[in-house]
Symmetry: C3
Subunit: 381 residues, 3 copies
């Protein structure tokens, strides 16, 4: 072991072995949250409800082995929210593994990934939950994202001229989400993402970090587009949601496609992130073949918009605002949520030690007001 | 990484980073147990039943970050006993996290805690399960303790004169126990604990360690008292036990208060620990409003007494005796258990590597005799 | 901490403490798998089904404490397959702990083990899943092995003459498998294994590693025999399978005995492993006492044969073939499976980083053909 100088925020363990046969960064992290919410009963706001939560707690290993061209990442969940959602499809086991993936740079700018990790979906999802500028992600993300899955990915990068960078990411995956171990019930899932960085790479991969902590001296922009096709999908939100197991004991299968267009812009402490999502399904109503009424499940088709902007002051306080709205198609029978979020963050050691608070004002079909005040901290080695 | 000289019992990993930005001690531990029990059928003792168990197995991280004034502790459970008890209230996830808490010494003798950890309840509970002098805690503890919860705590210390120390501990918590992630169904829980150490602090925090391994040269005493109020509690043992979900689909709510008075005395290898507990509830019988019969749940109201004494010989063998009795109120319909325990421990490397054995003679309402012979070891980096 | 030179494949952390009070090797590992299968419908092979899986993912700690004579091993599972199978008998907890055991060399060649670990059963089972030459173990193993259990073991070794080594291993265990925490429902389990190594010890414990990576310059042979007796067993496959809980709420108990005879031979890159298994039960049909029809469970009695041979080329490619057949007794009503497997492995860093693929042709009662093509890699610090 050749011991590197590690420091808080750079991993609890961080070294390259003496013979340069591997490197490792090991980092635990946790998020503490307090929620206070007021429901509006049509005339008044009711008494508040108060709760506390360890929202996320994780152990993360990453580095390379044999050669810097062979990278690995293993991330494990610890909190109830991280590992819940086990079912007969995960062997009734908690969903302990988030990432378990090898990334092999086998030729020039090509990288082959194998294992379980995030699909190249919408930017907000791919940004680590440890690098957010609000207490949590938006409603667009929670309803339309394509999360993690198991399979293989191919990543490639093109440098055009002095600065212009184009990245292409393709994934072939099982299409039923993470930690599934009953085989593949539906068909496979195909994902392609294209990214354009017309002004070059962000400092320290800042396109996938919220808040302009690097205070980019020149404007940086990333614009991305995703097309995802889940062949014979068996879950209500592509590779997320409920398995559509019909009363007759068979799975309902339908092709689901998801489109994202998103962008990240950073300049001198300002940042703007915008996303649009659209989900469509061949036949969104899940019914036994031949029947025409009483669908047991509905694919959550529709679209969403999320825009957020922020400014980071010199003292590392940041204010941020967010507008989010989902419009589900009528067939779903689901009400359309809309949210306004105003947040403040103090980055003590960047995203590694930060205190955050935000206020969320929500409506459903422009009714049913609700206000939530959220506060919390991140602690991340 | 500045590598400190670690040794067995001081953590598997134990260092302060070179730039003094954090410190960490990481320690796995496990407890192996063998149980042999004989039931008395009224005339004879029946054939014994034999079983083995990994009673506890844990991973613990603690230290400080940024400054020694900001301490952290993360403890994770591994054994079936540690992580069992998951339910719909924990997202059907195993209860993997024991502690996930930050402790901030923000001003003089004041410390603010935020996260999930033990409440400042009865001494026996707050003493780590790795520092016990019997194979396991008493029946007072198992029925009346207030365990861990999530929220915030404020700790303070007063030094009076040369030696006299007073400690005050307050907690505001969710009141439904650890790892709950469905929000807060009942009201909040309020805990206050006052401790008096008239002869000064114990050596190496020995007030919260069983067995006088430090052989205190002068007598040391800690006397404590706890008042705990769980507002609109929804579980049968305050923040432990079953959720009182009634047949009509609603939760039964009642205020539950718990009182503890306890003491620890140590002197030259002798130690005495004594505890009294009392639990009361507004309306212990859980019934649908308006009904007067057939309660579905009962709050376990009553009181308990536990006294134990021990002597540690020069060769680090210890003998210890314990008397425990719980008296539940008649409304509970639960029989009163009484236990006599006689134990012997060999501390090879203090509590870190020890072999223990004890014999427990139990009765229920002075009937139903049962004898258990227990043996095991602790292995703790 | 005295830091040893660690390298990939020798543990992510590997050191002896400066004061020589303990040593530790910590190693994460994972296995990624791809499965493609074709069923034969009697006339044609159907369309293939494709799935991916993190088959195993583990964290392993081992080393010694206080003295090299006191060894420890803790192995934790992470994947759905590793930790699934939780039930009311494991406190509804996932089966997170694989091994948690101390091994004490208390006198000459005697070693006492206490804790949960593999029983001294058939060789294929005791070989780590990280040291296999096919994508997974055989059907003999999956139906007849006696897996892990909790209790104590006594190991001893005799050196006869210059080379001849005899090893004796005895285990007394609970007999219901790993992570059970409801006590012991049936009786205890007794296991004895005798091993003969007429030509001396294998290089680097190669008798318990598949593939002759050490290219033994002289022939090495290990022949072993196991007799296992599970007194009043309550599960259908001795300490594995389903608990035989009858309709009347009682457990069905019957004595189950399992016999293994196995051998490992290695010489200059060649290796042969052969195993025979036989399981018998007093009364294999589980029925309420007095009844004679409609057994609810059946003990899986019968026998199995597994033979595999391989050659490792100079470039660390290996080809291996395997034949496996189980014959269940008629009383079980279970069809007899037969499998032919042809595998190829590339050992990049021995078993620590390897890529494998195999093809399995299966029949049931010589019918119901099925072909599976499997591929995957192991990544093991």
């Amino acid at each position: 072991q050749e011991i590197s100088d590690t420091k808080f925020g750079k991993g609890l363990i961080n070294f390259t072995s003496k013979d340069s046969s591997f490197s490792v960064k090991f980092a635990p992290r946790m998020q503490f949250r307090s929620y206070t919410s007021w429901d509006y009963d049509g005339e008044n706001y009711e008494d508040p409800e108060q709760s506390f939560l360890i929202r996320r707690a994780r152990l993360k290993f990453d580095g390379w082995a044999l050669t810097p061209k062979l990278k690995y990442k293993i991330e494990l969940g610890l909190s109830s929210n991280d590992i819940g959602g086990g079912s007969v499809y995960t062997g009734n086991a908690p969903r302990y593994i988030l990432d378990a993936v090898l990334k092999w740079n086998f030729y020039e700018n090509f990288e082959l990934w194998a294992g379980q990790t995030k699909l190249p979906g919408n930017i907000e999802r791919v940004i680590s939950s440890g690098n957010l500028q609000f207490i949590d992600r938006s409603i667009l993300n929670s309803r339309f994202n394509i999360d993690r899955d198991i399979g293989i990915q191919l990543h490639h990068k093109i440098n055009l001229g002095e600065n212009f960078v184009i990245k292409e990411k393709f994934a072939l995956s099982q299409g039923e989400g993470r930690n599934v171990n009953v085989g593949n019930i539906g068909g496979l899932q195909y994902t392609g993402r294209l990214e354009f960085l017309p002004f070059g790479e962000f400092i320290k991969k800042g396109d996938y970090i919220q808040a302009d902590l690097e205070r980019e001296p020149r404007p940086k922009l990333m614009v991305g587009a995703v097309y995802d096709f889940n062949d014979d999908a068996v879950k209500t939100r592509s590779n997320l949601g409920s398995y559509m197991l019909l009363e007759n004991g068979e799975f309902y299968r339908t092709d689901i496609s998801t489109i994202f267009v998103d962008a990240m812009l950073k300049y001198r402490g300002f940042s703007v992130m915008a996303e649009y999502a659209n989900r469509d399904a061949d036949e969104p109503l899940a019914m036994v073949q031949g029947e025409t009424e009483n669908s047991e499940y509905v694919v959550l088709v529709g679209n969403g918009l999320n825009v957020q902007a922020s400014y980071l002051f010199k003292n590392n306080y940041e204010i941020a605002g967010r507008y989010s709205r989902n419009n589900y198609e009528e067939v779903t029978g689901v009400l359309d949520p809309e949210q306004y979020t105003l947040g403040i963050s103090k980055y003590i050691v960047g995203h590694k030690l930060k205190i955050q608070s935000d206020v969320v004002y929500s409506t459903l079909n422009d009714l049913n007001d609700n206000i939530i005040w959220r506060a919390g901290f991140d602690f991340h080695f």
